[in-house]
C-alpha cells in the first residue's frame, strides 16, 4: 500500500507537475482566468491522463520499444479527440470557452511524461492511479491559480458555473464597486500568481528541510556535525 501512498504524494506535492516540474504551463496560464474554467480544463486533463496511463499500461506488452513515442502520441491524441468531442456535445458553452485548449492537452508534456516514465513500466492499477494523482496535482494548482486570479481580477468566485450546472450562479465576493485588478486576469497576472505559488512551495520545502536538519541535530548530534562540517 505504501507504493500507492508514494504515487499520491508524488502527484500532489513532491513531483507536482506544475509546482515541481513546471510542465504544462501553456494551458495553465491561458485558461486559469476563472476558477470554473481552470477546474474544467483540469478535470479534462485528469480524464485524459487516467485514460492514457490505463491504455498504455494495458497495451505496453504490444508496443515495440523503437516506435513507442509515436504510438504513445497516437493514443494520447485519439483520447484527447474523444474528450474534445464529448465536451463539444455535452458541455457546449464550456467548450466555447476552453476552445483550443482541450485539443492542446495533447501537447501537455506532463501526459507524455507520465506515460513514458510510469505507465509503460507499471501495472494497470498503479498506472491509472498515477494518472489520477498527477491529474489531481494539476487540478488543485490550476484551480487555486484560477480562484486567486478571478477573485483579485474581478472580485467574484465560481463565475461561469452556470455553464456546467445551469441552476447555480457565481458569487460576488467583493463589493460591486471593486474596481477589478484587471492585470490578474490578463496573461502577466498568471505569471505573477504562479510565481508566488512556486515561491510558496519552495518556502515550505525549505522550512521542512530546515526542521529535518534540526531534528537530526537533536537526535544524533555527532552525525549532523559531521554532515555540516
Amino acid at each position: 500500500m505504501s507504493a500507492y501512498k508514494d504515487i499520491a504524494w508524488n502527484g500532489l506535492w513532491k513531483q507536482n507537475s506544475i509546482l515541481a516540474q513546471l510542465l504544462g504551463l501553456c494551458p495553465l496560464l491561458a485558461i486559469s482566468t476563472t476558477f470554473v474554467n481552470a477546474v474544467s480544463l483540469g478535470l479534462a486533463t485528469i480524464l485524459v491522463m487516467m485514460l492514457a496511463n490505463f491504455a498504455i499500461s494495458a497495451l505496453r506488452a504490444l508496443i515495440p520499444y523503437e516506435i513507442r513515442i509515436p504510438v504513445f502520441i497516437l493514443i494520447i491524441a485519439a483520447l484527447v479527440t474523444v474528450v474534445d468531442l464529448a465536451f463539444n456535445a455535452f458541455l457546449h458553452d464550456l467548450y466555447l470557452v476552453l476552445g483550443i485548449f482541450i485539443p492542446l492537452i495533447v501537447t501537455n508534456c506532463i501526459v507524455l511524461a507520465r506515460v513514458e516514465a510510469f505507465a509503460a513500466k507499471n501495472g494497470l492499477r498503479a498506472a491509472t492511479f498515477d494518472g489520477l494523482m498527477m491529474g489531481v496535482g494539476f487540478v488543485w494548482v490550476i484551480g487555486l491559480l484560477g480562484a486567486v486570479r478571478e477573485l483579485v481580477g474581478q472580485g467574484t468566485i465560481f463565475s461561469g458555473i452556470e455553464m456546467i450546472f445551469p441552476t447555480l450562479t457565481g458569487i460576488q465576493v467583493l463589493s460591486e464597486d471593486y474596481p477589478g485588478f484587471l492585470i490578474a486576469i490578463l496573461p502577466p497576472g498568471a505569471f505573477f500568481v504562479l510565481g508566488l505559488l512556486i515561491a510558496g512551495r519552495n518556502w515550505i520545502e525549505a522550512r521542512a528541510n530546515q526542521r529535518r536538519l534540526e531534528k537530526r541535530l537533536h537526535d544524533h548530534p555527532s552525525s549532523a556535525n559531521a554532515a555540516s562540517a
Binding site: 492585470i183 490578463l186 505573477f192
Partner: protein, 339 residues
C-alpha cells in the same frame, strides 16, 4: 572615463539619493505651476506609503530598519512613481503602485541593489495594464484649481470636466483611426493640449527635469552615456520617420519634450541597479530603451512606452553587460571569442 573598479568620489547611498531628490525639484516646481498642487499630494502619499512598506519589509526580512530606511532609495522610487502617474489618480492607485514597487519589485528580489527591474517602472506598467482608463486621465492644461483635484484624488469623482488625455495619447489616438484625413499637423493644430515644442506645459516640465539632470551630471551621480544614448536614439528615429512621412509620424521635439522622455532620460534610465554597468553596455542599454520607446509610443496601445521599454531592456541588461566587459588589462583577446 569611469570604468575604473573604484569610485572617484566615495559617496554614500544616502547622499546620492538626497541629491537625486534635489534634482527633481525644478521639474516638480514647473509641474505645480502648470498643473496645480495635486502632484504634491501624490508625492506625499507615495512617500508615506513607500516608507511604511519599506520599514515593514525590512522588519520582515530581519534587516536593520533605520539604517536602510534612511538611505532614501524608497523615497526616490516613490517620487518617480508619483511623477509618472496622473496627478489626479485616485489615492489607492498610487498606494497600490508604490506597494507593488517596494514589496514585489524591490524586496521580493532581495532589496536595494538586487532588483533586476526598475521598481518605479514595474509600478507604472502594472497599473497601466490593470487600470488603463484611470491611468489615462490627466488634468486639463491650465486647470490648477486645488479643490476639484483633491476631490478627484480622495473623494467622489467628478472627472470629465477637468481631465483630458496626455498630448502623446491624444495624438496617437487621433492618428490611429482609419480616418485617413487625420495628419500630424492637423491634430497638433486642433487641440489646446499641444504647445509649440511638445505638449503644452509638459515641454516646460521636461525642461525642468533637464535642469535637474544636468545637476546630476555635474555632481557625477550619473554619467553622460545613458541620457545621451537614450535621447539621441529617440531623436534620430523619430526625426528619420518624420522626414519620411511628416503626416503620419511626429517629429523629435514632440517625442523629447512630451510624456516621460526627459524624466526617463535622467532619472529612470540611469537607475544604477537595474541597468548596465559597462560604458559600452550603458550606451547599448539606453539606445535600446530609446528605440523601444519610439516603437511602443507609435504603434502600441498604451499612453506612453518608456516603462515597457525600460523593463524590456532591464531583462537584457545582464546579457549586454556580459558581452561588453572591457578586456582585463594585460590580457589578450582570446581567438574566436568576444572579450
Amino acid at each position: 572615463m569611469n570604468n575604473s573598479p573604484y569610485f572617484l568620489q566615495p559617496a554614500s547611498v544616502q547622499s546620492v539619493m538626497l541629491r537625486v531628490l534635489l534634482a527633481l525639484i525644478p521639474g516638480i516646481a514647473v509641474y505645480v505651476w502648470f498643473f496645480g498642487a495635486a502632484i504634491l499630494v501624490q508625492i506625499a502619499l507615495a512617500s508615506v506609503t513607500a516608507l511604511l512598506a519599506e520599514a515593514a519589509m525590512l522588519k520582515l526580512r530581519g534587516k536593520p530598519v533605520m539604517m536602510f530606511l534612511a538611505d532614501g532609495s524608497a523615497l526616490v522610487t516613490a517620487w518617480l512613481i508619483a511623477l509618472t502617474f496622473p496627478p489626479i489618480a485616485p489615492w489607492w492607485l498610487t498606494v497600490v503602485g508604490v506597494l507593488a514597487a517596494i514589496v514585489i519589485a524591490k524586496h521580493l528580489y532581495g532589496g536595494l541593489g538586487q532588483n533586476p527591474f526598475n521598481p518605479a517602472m514595474v509600478a507604472f506598467a502594472l497599473m497601466i495594464v490593470a487600470y488603463p482608463s484611470l491611468m489615462s486621465q490627466w488634468p486639463a492644461v491650465g486647470f490648477t484649481e486645488f479643490l476639484p483635484q483633491w476631490q478627484a484624488i480622495f473623494g467622489p469623482r467628478q472627472l470629465d470636466a477637468i481631465t483630458m488625455a496626455t498630448p502623446l495619447d491624444a495624438l496617437r489616438t487621433a492618428l490611429h483611426t482609419a480616418d485617413a484625413r487625420a495628419t500630424v499637423a492637423g491634430v497638433l493644430g486642433s487641440s489646446a493640449s499641444f504647445g509649440n515644442i511638445g505638449g503644452k506645459g509638459w515641454e516646460w516640465v521636461a525642461a525642468g527635469y533637464c535642469v535637474g539632470g544636468i545637476y546630476l551630471l555635474q555632481q557625477r551621480i550619473i554619467t553622460w552615456h545613458m541620457p545621451a544614448a537614450f535621447l539621441a536614439t529617440l531623436f534620430v528615429i523619430s526625426g528619420g520617420f518624420a522626414l519620411y512621412d511628416p503626416t503620419r509620424f511626429v517629429g523629435p521635439s514632440f517625442h523629447l519634450f512630451t510624456g516621460g522622455a526627459m524624466l526617463g532620460a535622467f532619472f529612470i534610465v540611469t537607475d544604477p541597479v537595474s541597468g548596465c554597468t559597462t560604458p559600452r553596455g550603458k550606451l547599448i542599454f539606453a539606445a535600446g530603451i530609446g528605440l523601444l520607446t519610439w516603437i511602443i509610443r507609435t504603434f502600441g496601445a498604451y499612453p506612453d512606452g518608456i516603462a515597457f521599454a525600460v523593463l524590456l531592456m532591464n531583462i537584457a541588461a545582464p546579457l549586454i553587460d556580459m558581452n561588453t566587459q572591457p578586456p582585463v588589462f594585460g590580457h589578450k583577446r582570446k581567438a574566436g571569442g568576444r572579450p
